[in-house]
């Protein structure tokens, strides 16, 4: 009970004297049944659930884990049609070899002639190129190309007569 005079202790006492209505017999029986169920039943499901969850986790890891080439075996066993024996299959050669180098001129800009101190005249030319380097695999199908733009400045001598 509150001792704060604002809280009206006399009224509090009177109201407390009125007790909440007790639950009916039927309700008490229902509640008693709830408390009669051992909660261990719910816990007992965990030993069944845990292996399933663990298996699913391992399966997901195996599927989603990135393939690691260094772990791949060098030779894979295959079943031979003729003898029924197992023969190793060598892994395909994936080495690439450079097969083509190209320097392609895209644009060339001529700039005004210049004259050097020794009276020799030159024609400056600014050239835009694309360098292409191509590698190919032994199977003739696998190919990789590297393209790089580049700019060169040239001084071409102007013949004087």
């Amino acid at each position: 009970m509150s001792h704060d005079p604002e809280m009206d202790p006399e009224m509090e006492r009177l109201l407390r004297a009125l007790r909440p209505a007790p639950p009916s017999r039927e309700i008490q029986r229902r509640w008693a049944r709830v408390l009669a169920h051992p909660p261990a039943r719910a816990m007992a499901r965990w030993p069944l659930v845990l292996p399933v969850v663990a298996t699913a986790l391992v399966a997901a890891l195996l599927i989603l884990w990135p393939e690691r080439p260094d772990k791949r075996p060098d030779a894979l066993p295959v079943l031979s049609r003729d003898a029924g024996a197992i023969t190793p299959l060598t892994a395909p050669d994936r080495t690439l070899h450079a097969t083509q180098i190209e320097n392609r001129v895209v644009d060339a800009y001529e700039e005004g002639p210049v004259q050097m101190v020794d009276d020799v005249a030159f024609r400056p030319v600014r050239v835009h190129l694309i360098d292409t380097l191509t590698w190919e695999g032994a199977d003739g199908v696998t190919r990789a190309s590297y393209l790089a733009p580049r700019e060169e400045h040239l001084l071409l001598p102007i013949p004087t007569y």
Binding site: D8, M11, L15, L18, P20, A32, H37, P38, P39
Partner: protein, 170 residues
């Protein structure tokens, strides 16, 4: 004392429920729309708390907070259905929330009517303070409100009840 006998001051669930059942039901009634829902809410609360704490009941604020949460969940899920049912059963008599079998029957019925007319936020504070045996601090914890707010709502609620429930014996 026999070997292996458990020594504990905590009541068992059955003992606890015997003393608290009526209080829980009253609080659930203030939080729900009808008696059937209140009984279901208390039953679900008991099941949930018994599963979490099978040895002994948790502290009272946890119990009342669970009743309240369950009642809110139930209210959300059955709002439309109950609105229809309430419209259909409007005007029918309802069970008195207080023990009206003794000499204070008239006062119990007056209190019942007044408590139902209290604003919900005052009604829950008054119920928890007077019949739930909670302190203002525990009420604040249960309802997730400041202590001053709890005390203020209690003061207003008590003033309202004083107007509608006579101090003198009727």
């Amino acid at each position: 004392m026999e070997r292996g006998e458990r020594v504990s001051s905590q009541p068992t669930w059955a003992q606890w429920l015997e003393g608290r059942g009526a209080q829980l039901l009253l609080f659930a009634r203030t939080q729900t729309r009808n008696d059937a829902d209140a009984e279901d809410v208390v039953q679900e609360t008991l099941a949930e708390l018994f599963r979490k704490s099978p040895v002994a009941p948790p502290p009272l604020p946890v119990v009342y907070a669970t009743v309240r949460r369950r009642a809110i969940d139930l209210g959300r899920s059955t709002n439309r259905r109950l609105a229809r049912e309430e419209a259909a059963t409007e005007g029918q008599s309802t069970t008195c929330w207080f023990d009206d079998s003794l000499e204070q029957r008239e006062r119990a019925q007056l209190l019942d009517a007044a408590l139902r007319r209290l604003p919900a936020n005052q009604r829950e504070v008054v119920t928890l303070k007077l019949w739930g045996d909670l302190t203002f601090a525990q009420i604040a914890e249960t309802l997730d409100i400041p202590i001053n707010t709890a005390a203020s709502r209690y003061r207003y609620g008590l003033a309202f009840l004083r107007q509608h429930v006579p101090l003198e014996h009727p």
